[in-house]
Symmetry: C2
Subunit: 417 residues, 2 copies
Amino acid sequence: MVLSMRVALISIGDEVLIGQIVNHNAAWLAEELTLIGCSVVEHVTVGDVAQQLTQTLDRLRSECSVIIMTGGLGPTHDDITKDVLTQYTDDRLVMSESWLLHLHEWMRERGREVTERNAAQALLPSKATLLANPIGTAPGLSIDHHGCLLVALPGVPTEMRHIVQRHLLPVLIERLETSGGVRRQYVTMLTAGIAESSLADLLGDPQEFLGTSSLAFLPNYHGVRLRIGAQHADATVREAELWRVRDYIMQRAAKYVYGSGKQTLAEVIGVRLRERGQTLAIAESCTSGMLGARLTDVAGSSAWFLGGVMCYSNESKVRDLAVSEETLGSFGAVSNEVARELAIGVKERFASTYGIGITGVAGPGGGSAEKPVGTVCIAVATPEHCVATRHQFGNDRHVNRERSVGMAMAVLWRLLS
Amino acid sequence: MVLSMRVALISIGDEVLIGQIVNHNAAWLAEELTLIGCSVVEHVTVGDVAQQLTQTLDRLRSECSVIIMTGGLGPTHDDITKDVLTQYTDDRLVMSESWLLHLHEWMRERGREVTERNAAQALLPSKATLLANPIGTAPGLSIDHHGCLLVALPGVPTEMRHIVQRHLLPVLIERLETSGGVRRQYVTMLTAGIAESSLADLLGDPQEFLGTSSLAFLPNYHGVRLRIGAQHADATVREAELWRVRDYIMQRAAKYVYGSGKQTLAEVIGVRLRERGQTLAIAESCTSGMLGARLTDVAGSSAWFLGGVMCYSNESKVRDLAVSEETLGSFGAVSNEVARELAIGVKERFASTYGIGITGVAGPGGGSAEKPVGTVCIAVATPEHCVATRHQFGNDRHVNRERSVGMAMAVLWRLLS
């Protein structure tokens, strides 16, 4: 029998309920939990109302073995989670000397005193296990309540994520392992430069190679993620199975696989350039800064990213990147020829190893019969040559720009392989 | 008595449940519903499982007068919403001739035929009111079921939003108006260039000016939104009250208010530049493209945005923007002096009316005692002069870059006022 540890997520807070905040926490938690083999069965968002939270706990407790709450752990009057949990588990609050000590150190490092309000954050239900928060003042809590694990975490995303990765996931993995059931486990392979349907064709009939494992195709603007799932009671067998499927995919599609897990294409490009002591400069017309923003999201990118030009106007293409008036006149600003001159022009201006040029019709205006909205030309110049390709994306300005950035990174990455 | 039309949101789909998709739909819907005066009491996400959806409907129906479902309306086997609703309301599916006709036209325009699978999208519960989808093949549905309005919408965000704005919100507003209760209504004012606490000080004690109205401060990287709420049975009184509070705020803080509703600062800047026939060019170091990306999110931005330079390296600052080696040597790359030369340099290179220069230590590396991580200098050059300011943001690379972009836009906007 397949064991599936059923988990429900409760997000607590009026600010989520009224749409002031997008619930990124639930998606992040759900993905992490799914990857270790939990079965996430429901997300609920409730307001800062004790009765509503109590009723939700009552309902979910009969269906799930783990309930994870986020939010409502702060020091103000509308933070209800700790009080509700204490009452719900017939418990009382006691001062955690260790957390109080931690709070004093935390405040001292910041030149502040522990106020009464802060100190109250060290008052914890007596039956709770403290999940230390390395970057904030509110710790997480877990309480085993009649066979259901109740977990409360701060709503601040970075704090929540730290606690989950350091303290909660190891506990849940341990439980999954020792429960004796058949555990599911996942790995994610990241691909770029190939469409979902072409990738599926390349891999062939899943039934032929998957056996008891599963494979999900998860496309986004920047590529297709492949999530492989294997299930077996024995961790060694499970991992061998994951490796088997991964090897099968690599044999057929290695040239599209740029990484695994949560890496980004920009990070992988950065690692490769840095290893080789090479550099990159970019010329962006229709994406005007989006590729640069993505590349410099990577900390330390100054080691390999030299900069670029947002050549939104034709004047800039000619003046700053040495695109010839003649090329512009003959082929138009959106053409492989201009993309090529942009890539070579920016490479020469910045004296970089590689240059990228992007020019296109993002929309909604600017389209023509010959070059409708969604036409984008992308060129990458290397020390030896320059590759230019024309693409036809869709009707949405935002999507066209995102896909242009993804495609440009995919092309560069392939040339770096 | 305050009428509050209680609304629950149900998101349907395994891809949301396992965290593959962030639930932006729920936040968007919740905000729209809150703004017209509905009381959103719960969001739930369930999988593609009929029984789970039925149980959730049963539970929420007793607590809410409106239940809005998103997702599960597509043409594949895992799209369960329509079948569940038909069964739940003891109904049967009948062919909507008008929607079938629409599908034929839709496909003909795209040079395609209506397949059997497509045609099935015109099969609708007989008791349902069709909510036309102007940009997709799956229409929305609403069914009055024993006093509870059940609404089903496609999960594709753009389609869902169109249907809500055109068809659902008018119906709900009508219900709120005719119910005879005291309706709540909101307007949002957008501010930039002032911190939340300073804005609160400027406005004074809310109890002094709010009366029965409410005011929420909603800060993000780019400014503080002020959401004013008024409640009264009479729409005229309600609107007069919203105007009264808005006027009060304008008297004290007009110079920080750049717009209302869902406008962006980039849009407002664009409108102003376009009206005056003026132009902008930018030089971005630590944000390297983020400001350009934001400005060119605005459709038609080529009318006023000429482009810019991502001057990530010192070489680029000197070569492309005429920053002097001497200034770099004396003050360092992160200084008001260099920001000023960047702004003036890019303005001259692009022959634009305005120029922006941004240089800073985004982190995590590169900080010093004198210029710790989070130090950012921003300059805006106008035809007459150049303003440079130094800011100290926080420790997070991503946040520092976002706040730099927001601050640069706020400074330019103020100079344009």
